[in-house]
Amino acid sequence: MNLPIESLNLTDPVNVSRRRFLAGTAVGALVLGFGLPLGSGRALAAAAATERGTQVPAFLEIRPDNTVRLLSPFMEGGQGTHTAMAQIVGEELDADPATFLVEAAPPGEAYVVLDNGMRITGGSMSVRLSYPTMRRLGALARAMMLQAGAEKLGVPVGELTTEPGKVVHAASGRTLTYGELAERAMDLPVPDPASVKLRDPSQFRWIGKPVKRVDAYDKSTGKALYSIDLKVDNMLHAAVQHAPRLGMTVGSLRNEEQVKAMKGVHSVHQLPGAVAVVAERWWHAKRAVEAIQVDWLEAGADSRLRSMPADFSSDAYVKRLAAEKGPARDAENEGDVAATLASAKTTLQATYHNQYLNHGQLEPPSALARFNPDGSLEVWLPNQAPDMFRADIAKRTGLDPARITLHSPLLGGFFGRHFLYESANPYPQAIALAKAVGRPVKLIWSREEEFVRDALRPIAAVNFRAALDSDGMPLAIEAVSATEGPTEALAGKQGEKIDPTALEGLAGKSYAIPNKRIAQIYVKGPAMLGYWRSVGNSLNDFFYEAFLDEIADKGGKDPYELRLHLLRDNPRLTTLLQAVGELSGGWKRGPFTAEDGSKRARGVAMASPFGTQTAVIAEVSIEHGQVKVHDIWQAIDPGSIVNPAIVQAQVSGAVALGLSQVLVEEAVYVDGKPRARNYDLYPILPPSRMARVHVRIVESGEKMGGIGEPPLPAVAPAVANAVARLTGQRIRSMPLSRYTFT
């Protein structure tokens, strides 16, 4: 392909080029890496501020046209956090969120704004844990605008007010736009954080309103740029072929000379656990790297990575987990479960398990690395924790972190994929290749290479036991989960305390059952694990809430009524459960015949993930032997909210992912290899399997909870409970596509 890109640049505006980046679209600016002048006097002045999220100039740049450029501490991957940040900061700054241009901030202490001292986008933490800080940031910036206005107009600051985007001197009728004042304002010292007053929530114009997303237009027109889209001058493209099993290393290449001679190939490289081809075009790199015949070596005993054995089978592994006997560690132990079980007349037990999952985000992983002439390194990569990634790059390259510039473009899907997984990110390869070829390299993992290295959602086998009283009410519940949590997997070992991500959703349930024991048998598996939207809750609420329905059935109770009973002393959850019942037109378990003649039933389930409470009702029928989910009603109480439209969208999306995992998804390993390397054998929920989603937001006023993940976990058990009611088949595993229903 020898049309010179440079010449195209000059003649054709549709090309991505340095010129276009210079012209400065939002993300283009990011690509060029001109950030805010942090080294300048402004930042130094700001650095004096010690409280979190007070270095106003590090976050905000207000341009002469009144556009507010906000560097967000959080990554945008669809969850709407950039819009939420614009709303929150805009509310206090007094600037319309529609005038905001939001980009991900670079690494740096200035952007650590979460209450917990971390800089990570995940755990549904962004808004709920930075809310007061980001409001204060906006208020501080407004105070600086007012101060600058006072100086410029020569009036006491007390005579000034603001209207969206401007400072107003009512007495004289004079106004100054923020754009006119920004230069002066940003040179001012940041006021004492305690001195600013936040807006009364009753006066909110944007917080709590369905403000339009700041990225909606760009994302509807292909203008939004993701890591995979970026390009810098003189860049080469790279593709890899991964070892078929994690831990294996490159022995030798049988046909290196032949591959080097293929069209467009720049060079062939050996990397840890992979081979790579660098080429002028990605397509050439991809075809050439697939052609490499590699003799792979089994992992050495000193392998840093988990080594996947050649005989690993996920089906066999689940059976092994279910048979694990201990030792177990308790996360919760109340009352006397053993004695209650021993003395109760009615007991029941059941074993549940789940499946491995891929993240399946639609944007395949990529990374762009460039060594600058001064030896410094720039990397563009999808990530959800820039400081952690930069530290890792520093460790790998030996470079001082100050000499590493890290850019965090939009994420083409989040779902927990972009954490610092040792073996599941392309940036170490991209950096190694850029170094080797002395030119910038953009590496894209093909879908196939992604599916063989993705960090999987964990699996567990849970043995439940329960005891009922003579009225059929649960007296005791015990859940012993044989599993490895994702945090344990990242650490490579069991921690001193139980990994909360292993048991959340089994632990932390609110039902008033007097005797309960929730325990984990730690089993380190061979597959590399990661966080997957709603993490442990994604599996554990399925287990618990489905088994709770079994308890209800055993005791002759209606599962909705039983839950209400067990929550009778919990007004927040009672309200929520009643809300979802009402939303669904009144609890109706079925089976019943719908208007279209199909036989249907409903199931209910609840979950308490990430500080938010959720209740879900699902309506199902059977179509061609498979489960069809018609409607999902979800009541969600995150305490309070910032944007109802985004909450609605997040619920709808989380329901889709919840349906996907319960209906169709599964990463199967045979002979140590994933059977699916693409969406053909790893189906994700298609539009035809989507349910109508009905949402009710309940704002209890409790502490703000998360939004991105919480709506997911209760979906699967609600569906399974509805299926059990409809078909009489109690399915104790996911996905339901493994079964045929009649």
């Binding site: 639609l362 298609p686 539009p687 009905h694």
Partner: protein
């Protein structure tokens, strides 16, 4: 070979079997068309060829010589496409947005060929995958464009 893309003529020197997707993205620098699977499974790479939606990841470039290709970059130059984009924004369809170029192309192709599609025709045409699960919003937007009242969900 000579390609017609977005009403402009380009000379590209590509192998005949190169997917149109990679010619558009790498040779011509138009990155709105996305790579998702390379296997005609997801639809993120959808473009229009002579007004019909095709998946550019499985379209050898030689096959579009002499035909008119439209990508997302030119979608607003088309009256229908412009309406689709506006409705997409109105309904706040996008989440991560990665699949939405393809979704917009699919909707545009549907409505250009059939301005008043039925619900069944919409379901038959809007089959691209979305991992964020924006399906209800997509359906609502297309129903809106087709003049149908929303029947699915509230999003």
């Amino acid at each position: 070979m000579e390609l017609r893309i977005n009403q402009k003529t380009y000379q590209v020197d590509a192998d005949a079997d190169t997917p149109l997707l990679w010619v558009i993205r790498d040779d011509l620098g138009m990155t709105g068309t996305k790579y998702g699977c390379g296997l005609a499974q997801c639809g993120a790479c959808s473009v229009l060829v002579d007004g019909n939606v095709v998946r550019s990841c499985v379209t050898p470039v030689a096959g579009v010589v002499g035909r008119e290709v439209t990508t997302i970059e030119a979608i607003e130059t088309d009256d229908v496409g412009k309406r689709v984009v506006a409705t997409w924004v109105e309904h706040q369809v996008a989440q991560c947005g990665y699949c939405q170029s393809g979704q917009v192309m699919a909707a545009t192709a549907l409505l250009k060929n059939n301005p008043k599609p039925s619900n069944e025709q919409i379901e038959a045409a809007m089959v691209n995958l979305c991992r964020c699960g924006t399906y209800n919003a997509i359906q609502a937007a297309v129903h809106d464009l087709a003049g149908l009242s929303a029947t699915k969900g509230e999003a």
